[in-house]
Amino acid sequence: MKRVFCIDDEPVSLLVLADLLTDEFDVTTAGSGEAAMVLLHDGLQPDIILLDIIMSGMSGYELCQKIKSDSALREIPVLYISSLASGEDEAYGLEMGAEDFIHKPFHPPVVKARIHTHLQLADARKQLQRRNEDLEALVVERTSAIVRKTEQLLAAQSAIISAFCALAETRDEETGNHIRRTQHYVRALAEALRDHPRFKTALDEPTIELYYRSAPLHDIGKVAIPDAILNKPGKLTAEEWEIMKTHAYHGYNAIAITERSLMEAGDNFLKFAREIAYSHHEKWDGSGYPQGLAGDAIPLSARLMAVADVYDALISRRAYKAPFTHETAMEILAEGVGKHFDPDIATAALRIGDRFREIAEQFAD
């Protein structure tokens, strides 16, 4: 049975209300606002409150305000029941937070109907609130699941890269820290260009992160190159060079196969890795390989990697050459602006040359 709490300093009114409601409700009464507050603070939990306005001591307006400012009580519907007749009185009462206003003399069926209506509304509000809480809990649960899946996916990607890189390192004596250095150059370059008008739409934070993570796979195709060519201590013959150049295609192919089997996971990680592996030996002027792409037809990821890869090759020792100094490497990059390299990317590399040097020192072989 729902509990109705009637508050009125006029005992006759309280008796009439209690008589009216007692067959359908559990009725509690209080003869003043102060007495009502004591009962409410002592744990009385009414489902609805009927409240007189003009009372000696605390007025109904004041009591309503206290109820509506108390987080434990504010959801209880408050209905004024008063012989105040003006629209201003009614409006003021509703401004204090009450749900409704019943005028004295009241008609018993109207009082009961209003009580039922407001009890139903309160129940509906509670149900809605519970449903919202359930939905919020579900969103939190689902979000956690997505975060967990994303973390698992990222871990799987990292594992793929680590496995590929470990494979490459066992085959290629030159690789070593080259992989780490080039991925850091790529990120440094991308960050230096993120506000450049040509690149600012492409180089957002997630993309830069994906470039960084996929860059280590740029030479993965070298695992398909015979040891005699890959680790030859001298210049390659023309025929050997043609075989060496196929590493771009082998890399592309290996990643594309993996990409197709992971299609459902679908972010751009392997797409960028594939672009980089396939196109990082393309040149801005179209003289590169394997496709002879030129200008913006070369994927941006590969254009960044081209600068990073060449710089690192220049400053590294090879069987057939001593390492160039940083300054010499930078001069060579400058010569390649607009020929080998995207002019804006190579110019950015020259501008952040000190950062390249720091990276080279940090991950020295």
Binding site: D8, D9, E10, P11, V12, S13, L15, V16, D19, D52, I54, M55, S56, S82, S83, L84, K104, P105, P108
Partner: protein, 117 residues
């Protein structure tokens, strides 16, 4: 005669001829208003308009519950006059105190002759 003050058919009708409840209501009316004439006179003596308006409002609420229509109309006018600051309202309130005493005496006499059943 109680009928001069209370519309008994209307009162009985509202409470569905439940004589016991009507008697209970009137007993409560009598007991809870026994000190009201004195209270009204105190307010008049203090010339307190806001207290008069509040007391008149409370009385109005009680009178409407027992269908005491002449008393209801008079106290309604006193409440309005007190709210509007009419200085003549204190004289009206003093007169109302007398009428209220008469009503309560009449009510007591009526209840003395009534059986709750």
């Amino acid at each position: 005669m109680i009928d001069e003050y209370i519309d008994m058919p209307a009162l009985q009708g509202q409470y569905k001829q439940r004589q016991a409840f009507v008697i209970k209501l009137l007993v409560l009316m009598l007991e809870s208003h026994a000190d009201v004439p004195a209270k009204l006179r105190q307010i008049v003596e203090a010339q307190d308009l806001s207290a008069l308006a509040a007391e008149a409002h409370r009385l109005k609420g009680a009178m409407v519950m027992v269908h005491a229509m002449p008393l209801l109309l008079q106290i309604g006018e006193i409440e309005s006059s007190a709210k509007s600051g009419d200085p003549d309202v204190f004289m009206a309130a003093e007169q109302y105190a007398v009428i209220l005493e008469q009503f309560l005496e009449c009510l007591q006499a009526y209840l003395g002759g009534q059986s709750p059943d």
